[in-house]
């Protein structure tokens, strides 16, 4: 057991998701089993192979001042909104130096899986239609993948380093793991960490659909994302993000901060198997799970809940379930799991962060949100999937894992514990 590290706690939460413009509305919808998936109404949808998605419930233009918004890609807009919420939630106001935080001891880690796609493709449309003069001089600082992190760092005055891990759909979770490392290694006392994504656009939808990764199910959009269900046939694309304020426990205690959960540990591995397919025997996922447990000083029997990556693809959900059954053995029967993507869709680089948010709130409130649309639990899953009503956790110690995996063979497992 490697437990010599500095304890790190979560003291602030912020989010903009398909379920709500903040943490409270998102959590409320998760507990009620309300879906954020809907018919898309943009003009291009007519020709798109997929016509549903899960856009953020509150458009960033309703929150940010117009001039600030026009200098930011949509992904950075979402990140900035979530970061400001998390900052305020942690009890801070204004820039670091104005609120008693040493900027040199404060870092930002904000991931994106794809980057400023709307800016890139929007400017390319302008280039083709009107020539080079119509390409925005702000295009590069807006589209670069580190733009959300850099803008959060600018807004809050982070000088201990601003970082952007990119690992496809595990990016958001990897950012939180990176934040943990920054604090443990002594490079920062406080890190704002999480992920964002905004790529509901015809190009990625066509590309994902051509990969056969997205569901083409017709009918009620809220019934399309169905992780662990026998009839699941692919993911639904969502957008949004979440950011945490991570703090060394010592720093949090010194200022009397409210603690949601301890970020006990993280496990990161890579499959070296295939660029887009999960390893069928789940070795990489199993290794990441073991590392997260070990890093957090946790035994398999300490785990009360797992928030699964489960995207609603036939192969991916089965591979994750198999890996969990293998790692936990008989203990898995007593570990209720859930799959938030049934309600929010797949937020790619935002997924790991928003689902880590759900995991932290589960630890904090002692309630596991249900997975919706599991009409017929696939018998190959073999997990206790929470369905219908939220499941209450007992009064004893609570520890939970959050899984996030990405194209490229990335596996990230985060471990949270009730303080």
């Amino acid at each position: 057991m490697a437990r010599s590290q500095v304890p790190v706690v979560v003291t602030g939460l912020g989010a903009s998701t398909p379920l709500g413009g903040d943490v409270a509305s998102t959590w409320d919808a998760l507990l009620s089993g309300r879906s954020g998936v809907r018919h898309l109404t943009e003009e291009w949808v007519e020709q798109s192979p997929v016509r549903i998605g899960a856009p953020v419930a509150v458009d960033p233009s309703e929150v940010l001042p117009r001039v600030e918004a026009r200098r930011l890609d949509r992904s950075a807009q979402i990140a900035l909104i979530a970061a400001r919420q998390a900052w305020a939630d942690a009890g801070f106001e204004g820039k670091a130096s104005e609120t008693g935080v040493d900027p040199d001891r404060f870092g930002v880690v904000c991931a994106s899986g794809i980057g400023g796609l709307h800016t890139l493709l929007g400017n390319y449309d302008q280039l083709l239609a009107h020539g080079p003069r119509k390409v925005s001089p702000l295009a590069i600082p807006m589209l670069m993948p580190n733009s959300p992190a850099a803008n959060v760092g600018l807004a809050l005055q982070a000088r201990a380093g601003v970082h952007t891990p990119v690992s496809a759909c595990s990016s958001g979770a990897e950012a939180i793991a990176y934040g943990l490392d920054m604090i443990r290694s002594g490079r920062a006392d406080i890190v704002v960490a999480g992920g964002t994504e905004a790529v509901i656009h015809p190009l990625p939808i066509a590309a994902f659909a051509n990969m056969m990764a997205m569901s083409k199910r017709e009918g009620d959009p809220t019934a399309v994302s169905r992780p662990f269900d026998k009839d699941r046939d692919g993911f639904v694309l969502g957008e949004g993000g979440a950011l945490f304020v991570l703090e060394s426990a010592e720093h949090a205690e010194a200022r009397g901060a409210t603690v949601y959960a301890e970020l006990a540990g993280a496990g990161i591995t890579s499959d070296a198997h295939h660029i887009a397919q999960p390893e069928p025997d789940g070795a990489g996922v199993m290794a990441a799970t073991r590392k997260a447990l070990d890093d957090g000083g946790l035994r398999p029997s300490d785990i009360n809940h797992i928030n699964c990556h489960a995207t609603s693809t036939p192969v991916g959900d089965a591979a994750e379930a198999l890996a969990l059954r293998k790692v936990f053995g008989e203990v898995i029967a007593g570990i209720p799991v859930t799959a938030p993507k049934s309600m929010i869709g797949h937020l790619l680089g935002g997924a790991g962060a928003v689902e880590a948010l759900a995991t932290v709130l589960t630890v904090h409130h002692g309630q596991i949100p249900p997975t919706i649309n599991v009409d017929h639990l696939d018998e190959v899953i073999g997990l206790d999937v929470v369905r219908g009503e939220p499941r209450k956790l007992g009064d004893g110690p609570v520890a939970a894992l959050n899984n996030a995996f990405g194209f490229g063979g990335h596996n990230v497992v985060l471990a949270f514990r009730k303080p």
Binding site: P65, R66, V67, R70, R133, K134, S136, P137, L138, P141
Partner: protein
């Protein structure tokens, strides 16, 4: 298409407001783009491109650095549109 100075100032003020949020009323002939209106070099390019479109003129990149004040820009646009 020739425009008079007042029309150009009004049009330019609208562009500056759209891009930077500076109130249109603050965009006066004697104001410096950088020192008074706090417009950075990237936003200045956007203002220039907006002005080219609005007034049907060309403002070459080499000229942009000479446009220190709003008055400089208004004069340049006035002369350029008179030639056009």
């Amino acid at each position: 298409m020739a425009s008079n100075e007042e029309e150009i100032l009004t049009g330019l003020a609208e562009i500056v407001n759209e891009i930077t949020g500076v109130p249109a009323a603050d965009v006066q002939l004697d104001k410096s783009f950088t020192d008074d209106l706090d417009i950075d070099s990237l936003s200045m390019i956007e203002v220039v491109v907006g002005a080219e479109e609005k007034f049907g003129v060309k403002i070459p990149e080499d000229e942009v650095k000479n446009l220190a004040t709003v008055g400089d820009a208004v004069s340049y646009i006035k002369n350029a549109s008179a030639e056009a």
